[in-house]
Symmetry: C2
Subunit: 359 residues, 2 copies
């Protein structure tokens, strides 16, 4: 959506409220419900989706009045950002709005925890994305490989960034993919495994580009993967630790997350496949000596994952059950017990070439 | 130190042990003590330094035997890494060494917490750095601005990386600075403030390069700053939140840390100066409304900082005392309460040009 269209949506919201006031009626807005009860898993698309339950936010309901004022304040600030071409962090937005209301001792906001959820309300109300409101989240992640990106006028060849790679910013909407010459994109959970594969020249030898998420993938990183899949038709293959946390990181890249179900189309990449670590790897590659015992918190997380509709595929139920049975988890870096090169020379090429991938 | 020299040191350690065994004497090694009692603050150099207290690690002392074996195992693995030109994460090193000793049920290592401190022992024993042993820590941080770096054969112009910037790797020893055209390097605590200044074209307008640490600075980031200061004589100016955590992050970049006191020369940059946020800023720029109340954990941390020898400069005692008195802290992003541009157009240029910097 263009800045102009987003600004129009924000202005229209204001006009609507104004017209209610002019007519002597109560100003109110309709906000989609964002609880778990309004999120469902679309099996066909393999995406989490928000349902269509709404609530009403009414200015004359004292329980709503402050939130109502705060929501309009956010809308007004975002209009400023969009029209001036500026982008603010959600923390800056909070500081920009925080002040004492003239003639009172009342502050507009006391804490950022008040403004953050209202941003999401505004996103869902207007069907615009946070990035389109010129707001940004924290950035994290690195990109390397045969891809040329135009970023704000600069042409960046990500195959010419040594061992460093490109920092993936929180917003990648402005990236223009000028050239992508790769067979697939490998998305890697840990920074250390990413470094290993850079050192082994894995992208050059396997004609792929690589992204490290450094833990749970940030929005910018998820959006980049989504765009590479949709726009460049690049197959996405993900490589995480063999534990419930790694599997969840995978599921968020693939199907989206509950908290951001309204953005799954943009942040989720249903075509993503999973290369490892799996529980079968432990046997197949003789890694029994370098597994770790599950802790209680791991076991609890496995049981939670087994409840999620998007973990009901038989391959994933099998993995999770096997993990529970064996009582162990395994890290990506445990492959180093074979040799430092093993992951790059045998494990990944073997599994990827023979398509031993989970859905 | 060259790979050859490091390999020789490792081999010499082995030869020394062998010669003791040949002579029928007990194999032992001398390990510098690394506790707080052996760390002191060198006021003149403004660096934390390790003292010269030693302990002996003796093979025939059953309390030492396992650690002795583990230390030699690490030395041997590091020799492999150095000689084969590979670099391993400390987690990979752990997995490479973990095995059951032939003919016993004893494992070499049970947990990485056993190998990590022994790596530091080896570093201090041999006066070599972790990076020289071809071991690496996690990476974090981004670099942008008028600096051209050669990294593994690629020439990277960091002023041509759009809004993204270069990911700072965990090891920057191999960086060759081909061209640095800047008046100073601004080191920024938060990723969001870094993004703000990128958006405001601060590096271009103020002829500086910028580094974001994203919290506590990683080793790679600290080493990069150190090299820019020593080799390029670039003034380093740091910009953190106005709270004890931000001030500590500053002190680590400047004077080094207690845990890594043996590497202060390489990781600390005593020439670093501090631009803000200070407690005086709150009054000077009318930011009273956007401060936050100190929590108990902040107050405790202030009292700890006041005890550290490297926080005894009068300017820093003043800041910390003032913070305690006012009972508030202030974030970098609170400057957005003025306007988004304020930090880039007024706050930083005003303070930097008039040299309102803390030592």
């Amino acid at each position: 959506m263009s800045d102009k269209e987003v600004a129009k949506k924000l202005v229209d919201l204001g006009k609507e409220l104004e017209s209610l006031i002019q007519k002597g009626r109560e100003p109110k807005m309709t906000v989609p419900q964002r609880g778990r009860s309004n999120v469902s898993f679309d099996e066909e698309a393999n995406l989490l989706r928000m349902g269509d339950k709404d609530s009403s936010r009414n200015f004359l309901n004292v329980a709503h009045t402050k939130k109502f004022m705060q929501t309009t304040l956010i809308a007004s600030k975002c209009r400023d950002f969009v029209e001036s071409g500026k982008t603010a962090s959600i923390r800056e937005l909070y500081y920009q709005m925080k002040h004492t209301i003239k003639g009172t001792k009342e502050n507009t906001f006391e804490d950022q925890s008040e403004s953050d959820p209202l941003i999401v309300d505004l996103e869902t109300m207007l069907s615009v994305l946070r990035e389109e409101l010129h707001l940004k989240a924290d950035d994290k992640g690195t990109l390397i490989g045969n891809i040329v990106i135009e970023d704000t006028g600069d042409v960046i060849d990500c195959s010419k960034l040594g061992r460093s790679g490109l920092s993936i910013p929180s917003i990648v909407e402005h990236y223009k993919f000028q050239e992508v010459d790769a067979d697939y994109c490998l998305v890697i959970e840990t920074g250390a495994m990413f470094d290993r594969l850079v050192e082994e020249k894995f992208p050059q030898k396997n004609n792929c580009i690589m992204v490290s998420t450094k833990g749970q993938a940030a929005r910018g990183c998820r959006r980049l993967v989504n765009r590479l899949s949709r726009e460049e038709k690049l197959p996405i293959i993900m490589f995480t630790d063999g534990d419930p946390w790694g599997y969840y990181i995978y599921s968020v890249v693939k199907a989206g997350s509950m908290a951001l179900a309204h953005e799954s189309e943009r942040l989720g990449t249903p075509e993503t496949q999973f290369v490892g670590m799996t529980m079968s790897d432990v046997e197949d590659f003789g890694l029994e000596k370098v597994t770790e015992q599950l802790k209680d918190v791991d076991k609890k997380r496995i049981r939670e994952l087994l409840q999620y509709p998007w973990f009901q595929k038989k391959e994933w139920r099998r993995e999770l059950k096997l993990m529970e049975q064996k009582g162990v988890r395994i890290e990506q870096q445990a492959l180093a017990s074979k040799s430092l090169e093993f992951v790059a020379k045998e494990y990944l090429p073997e599994k990827i070439n023979s398509k031993q991938l989970l859905p």
